[in-house]
C-alpha cells in the first residue's frame, strides 16, 4: 500500500471524504478534525507544504453546502506523492492555524485571509499580505467586482467590458450578439430560445 493510500485510509477514520479527479487525490475533512488530519499526514511522510489556498463556490453552478473551501497542498518528497486536504467553511467560521507545523504556512494563510477573509486562529501575524491596507473587501471572493474601467471612445460612446464579455459566458447575448454554448456537442449550458446564434 502506498503512502497516499495509507494516509487516505487514516483520514477516513477522521470522517474524511476522499475524492479523486484525474489522479489527483483530495480528502475533505470536517473542520474539527483538520488539525489532526494535517498533523497525522505530516507525520506519515507528507513533509513539504506546497500551498494553502482558498476557493469560493458562491457562483459555482449547482453548488450546495458551505461557501468557502480551504485546501492544503501537501507533498511527500520520499514517496513522490501529493495530497490535497480540504475543509469547507462558511462566512464567519475560523480555522486553526498550521504555522506551528510549518513556518512556511505563514504567508499562505495570510494570503487566504487577505483574499477570502478566512480568519486563522492563533496565527502569529495575521495581517493583509498583498492588497493595500485601505482596500475594503477580499478580492478573490466572487462577489468582489473585477473593477474594470469602461473604455471611452472619441465620439462619447462607452464600452463596458463586462457587458462585452457577457456573451462569452453563455448567460446573455453580450455585445457580440452571440449566445455561448448553443452548439451541439460542446454545450455545457444550453439555452433554450432567444438570441441569435
Amino acid at each position: 500500500m502506498s503512502l497516499l493510500e495509507q494516509v487516505v485510509e487514516h483520514l477516513k477514520t477522521l470522517e474524511g471524504k476522499p475524492g479523486e479527479f484525474k489522479a489527483m487525490v483530495s480528502v475533505t475533512v470536517p473542520k474539527d478534525h483538520l488539525l489532526e488530519a494535517i498533523e497525522s499526514s505530516k507525520d506519515a511522510g507528507f513533509n513539504m507544504i506546497s500551498d494553502v489556498f482558498g476557493l469560493d463556490y458562491l457562483s459555482y453552478p449547482g453548488h450546495q453546502g458551505k461557501r468557502f473551501s480551504v485546501a492544503y497542498n501537501l507533498y511527500s518528497i520520499e514517496a513522490n506523492e501529493r495530497i490535497f486536504i480540504r475543509v469547507n467553511l462558511d462566512e464567519g467560521e475560523t480555522l486553526p492555524t498550521i504555522t506551528h507545523l510549518w513556518s512556511g504556512a505563514n504567508f499562505m494563510e495570510r494570503e487566504v485571509y487577505d483574499m477570502f477573509g478566512v480568519v486563522f486562529d492563533d496565527h502569529p501575524d495575521l495581517r493583509k499580505l498583498i492588497t493595500p491596507e485601505d482596500l475594503d473587501g477580499h478580492p478573490h471572493r466572487k462577489d468582489f467586482p473585477l473593477g474594470e474601467t469602461p473604455t471611452l471612445f472619441n465620439d462619447g460612446r462607452f464600452l463596458d467590458p463586462a457587458a462585452f464579455r457577457a456573451g462569452l459566458r453563455g448567460d446573455s447575448e453580450g455585445l457580440t450578439g452571440f449566445v455561448g454554448g448553443a452548439r451541439k456537442g460542446v454545450a455545457s449550458q444550453q439555452k433554450p430560445e432567444g438570441g441569435k446564434a
Partner: protein, 178 residues
C-alpha cells in the same frame, strides 16, 4: 585671435572662425539634454527591457542616460517601467516629489500608459493620473530601441525643439526663440 576681435568683427565672421553664439538658456538646455540621468523606477517586465537598454548592444550611454540613480535626488527623469499598482502609486508620487526640478517622466509600456491588459481593481489605469508624463512609449514591453528613441525625443523636448507631425522642424517654443 585677439580679444578685441570680439567687438570689432561681425557675428557672421566670428562664426566662420568657429566661435559660436548662444543664449544661456539654450546652452543650459543643451547640457541638460545630454546628461539625463534616470531614476530607477523599475516596476515589472518593462524594467527588464529598461535594463537591457543599458547593455552592450543597445548602449543607452551614447545619449548620456546610462547612469541609473537609485536616489531620486540625483535624477532628472523618471522612467516608469511597468504596471503601477494602487499600493505603489503613493510611493511613486513621493519619489517624483523628491526629484529636483527640472524633472521629466517617461511612461514606459502599455501598462504604465493605459493600464494595458490589466483592467482591474489592482492597477492604476494611467500613470498620468498620478504624475505628469512627458513621453509615452508604447509596447508590451517596448523594445530597448524604443526606449532609446524615447530618450532622444525627450532630449529634443528638453532642448525646446519642436516638430510637426511630418517631422519638419517648427520654430523653437516661445521663450527659447528670443
Amino acid at each position: 585671435m585677439a580679444l578685441t576681435d570680439l567687438f570689432t568683427k561681425d557675428v557672421q565672421e566670428l562664426e566662420n572662425e568657429g566661435i559660436l553664439f548662444s543664449s544661456l538658456e539654450k546652452l543650459v538646455a543643451w547640457g541638460r539634454s545630454n546628461s539625463l540621468w534616470p531614476a530607477t523606477f523599475g516596476l515589472a517586465c518593462c524594467a527588464i527591457e529598461m535594463m537591457q537598454s543599458t547593455n552592450s548592444r543597445n548602449d543607452l550611454a551614447r545619449f548620456g542616460s546610462e547612469v541609473f540613480r537609485a536616489s531620486p535626488r540625483q535624477a532628472d527623469v523618471m522612467i516608469v517601467a511597468g504596471r503601477l499598482s494602487k499600493k505603489m502609486a503613493p510611493i511613486m508620487k513621493r519619489v517624483y516629489d523628491q526629484m529636483p526640478d527640472p524633472k521629466w517622466v517617461i511612461s514606459m509600456g502599455a501598462c504604465a500608459s493605459s493600464g494595458g491588459m490589466f483592467n482591474n481593481y489592482a492597477i492604476v489605469q494611467n500613470v498620468d493620473s498620478v504624475v505628469p508624463v512627458d513621453i509615452y512609449v508604447p509596447g508590451c514591453p517596448p523594445r530597448p530601441e524604443a526606449l532609446v528613441y524615447a530618450v532622444m525625443q525627450l532630449q529634443k523636448k528638453v532642448r525646446g525643439e519642436a516638430f510637426d507631425e511630418r517631422g519638419i522642424e517648427l520654430p523653437m517654443v516661445e521663450g527659447w526663440a528670443r
